[in-house]
Subunit: 349 residues, 2 copies
DNA sequence: GTAGGTTATGCAAACGTTTGCATTTTTGGC
DNA sequence: GCCAAAAATGCAAACGTTTGCATAACCTAC
């Protein structure tokens, strides 16, 4: 009665007059156990309503069959898609996935990293906060040779396996596209430079300007967290005085959408007066009118790669030092009406 | 060397010439331990790089400080928002959250439920698949008095704590609104009736028709998984022959958006010729042109309630049979241009 | 019938904690 | 200084598995 309802392999063993080792092996289909015994054991397990205790097994084996996924937030399209794919893939291979959100707070990221370590996860995949520049809280994973993979928001100068988009090429491609569309005065709204991927996009942006002999003006670039509010404030600054820019490269689609709305309010025509390009190809970019040109980062592919990297690292013998690959996921400019005066075209590489 | 790098409380105890019990208590701030000893122990723990092993503690305590969250998918706006809130809330209280996706597959749901039980999670929150009508796989949680909360997609005839939206009222409100806007021939695209929330919305729909003496025609209602493809196919049927309906109540926004696009293609004007209302107030509904009238289900509030229910149940003494509350989260019709000929209004209760 | 080899099962330790109870140490009042 | 009470620490069992090694049971062939 009371709370002693949990059956264990000991109960099965007693019930059957077998030893616990035999029961354990039978349940795990160990080759040394006869087919008849296995049958008996499994039947009794079912009858008693036995449920394995993963914590006990994990403690003994020193592996939890659980992997951690640490992302800024799962309510945003891009990380959500990646998380979905990673989780489904690992689930197929018998792993549980603990998804944690840092909410873009460095402190939370550190705390969660420690908690995940305490749970003795078998591997960890991370997309860092915007502000993470010190990565020492991940050392514990490296030191103990626990597979560690970073994706999208990846560290700079920290030797580790990485899966990321080609942000330099992205910045370059977007800027070239705007220039080809006739823009001569382009604003770039970037994320904070503490996050290396924005550094690269900015580099691509500057490089394209240089190639086309367009002077780079410091006043035409903004570094900020890419929220709706911040985007609105940036617009207020940008359109406070003439001349208005003729192109804006926003580092995410939330920002691009906000700009579009601001333009609607102040009667700036898009794309005639101003061309806008976003980033990440959020579903909203396709649906809004005019559609917003954006950069597809193939989140599903990125998720597949992350999952594959984790699985790969996990099946390597523990002692081996990890090989630290850096995988580059391609990007693709998706042209839409916000940057093209002609027709709305959906696909073009 | 090799793999013996993991320090335990035993190491701390030896290093300090104390017993493991004292170390354990010191680390857990047990009142019986002197301040000086606590200080010493914590210092040594830091020095040795000690990391608690949650599995060992969990095994001993019979609680894992982990809770499970089982949802159809996290890449959809509504469940994603709820998951975010639940996770953040529980994280604040020192719990880990394992988020799992059933991908709307009953088999996966069953498998994941069992895995989560094996992990000895301290509580489980579930939004079921569209097709779950047998809930016996959750019995194990009930039988062992482990807090179990269902939300949004909740069971019918299964005694358990529930947090849900007022779907009957939602169906009623939407339909009334369409009628007030002059619609006389309304189509309803519903999810499958295996999912009780759609049953309720349909009931609300029918009730509103009845109240306004509009005959209900079986051919004007569709039951299907609410995907883009299915929505498109439904449109093909709906617009295959005259007369066209003058209003459509879609049970999610993906469907509503697809209908809007179809209408654009066949030159049916929205809202002049046809009024459309969706459900869930997906961010896309606000952004598309015309904006789509939808029903806000306050996912953040639902998440809060779910988290609160879990925490509440967890702090009840284990023996107590659970009280099975049913909480109703309000809904609010968000009127937009897709159903109103006049102006676009953003808010109206 | 026995040796030799398979095949199947059992013993017991180990994984890293926590905790009830026993024991030791400290404290304070006289 | 002494004693009782209070405070601090230690002992050892327990949580539910897995697994190396030892042992028992069963064949097969001579």
């Amino acid at each position: 009665m009371s709370k002693r309802t949990e059956k264990t392999i000991v109960d099965i063993a007693e019930e059957l007059g077998l030893s616990v080792s035999t029961v354990s092996r039978a349940l795990n289909d160990h080759p040394n156990i006869s087919a008849r015994t296995k049958e008996k054991v499994k039947k009794m397990a079912r009858k008693l309503g036995y449920r394995p205790n993963a914590m006990a097994a994990g403690l003994r084996n020193n592996r939890s069959k659980t992997i951690g996924l640490l992302v800024p937030r799962i309510s945003m399209f891009f990380p959500a898609t990646i998380s979905t794919v990673v989780q489904n893939k690992l689930q197929e291979h018998g792993y549980n996935v603990i998804i944690c959100q840092s909410n873009d707070s460095y402190e939370q990221e550190v705390a969660l990293t420690n908690t995940l370590y305490s749970a003795r996860i078998d591997a960890l995949a991370v997309s860092t906060t915007l502000y993470t520049t010190d990565f020492s809280h991940f050392d514990i994973f490296k030191d103990n040779n626990i597979p560690l993979v970073f994706f999208d928001r990846v560290p700079k100068d920290y030797d580790v396996t990485v899966v990321k988009g080609d942000d330099y090429l992205g910045g370059l491609t977007v800027t070239r596209h705007l220039i080809e569309q006739g823009c001569k005065d382009i604003v770039h709204i970037s994320g904070p430079l503490t996050c290396s991927l924005y550094v690269e996009r900015v580099a691509g942006f500057k490089h394209a300007l240089k190639q086309h002999k367009i002077p780079f003006k410091k006043s035409r670039i903004f570094y900020q967290e890419l929220t709706r509010d911040n985007a609105w404030q940036a617009c207020e600054k940008i359109f406070a005085q003439r001349p208005y820019p003729d192109g804006i490269f926003a580092a995410n689609d939330t920002t691009a959408i906000t700009i579009l709305e601001y333009c609607r309010m102040i009667n700036v025509r898009v794309p005639e007066d101003l061309k806008i390009v976003g980033y990440s190809n959020d579903p909203r970019a396709e649906i809004i009118n005019p559609g917003i040109t954006s950069v597809d980062q193939f989140p599903a592919m990125m998720g597949e790669r992350v999952a594959a990297a984790l699985l790969d690292l996990m099946q390597q013998p523990r002692r081996t030092p990890q090989r630290h690959a850096a995988e580059m996921v391609p990007i693709q400019l998706i042209k839409r009406a916000s940057s093209e005066v002609k027709a709305t075209r959906r696909k073009k590489s």
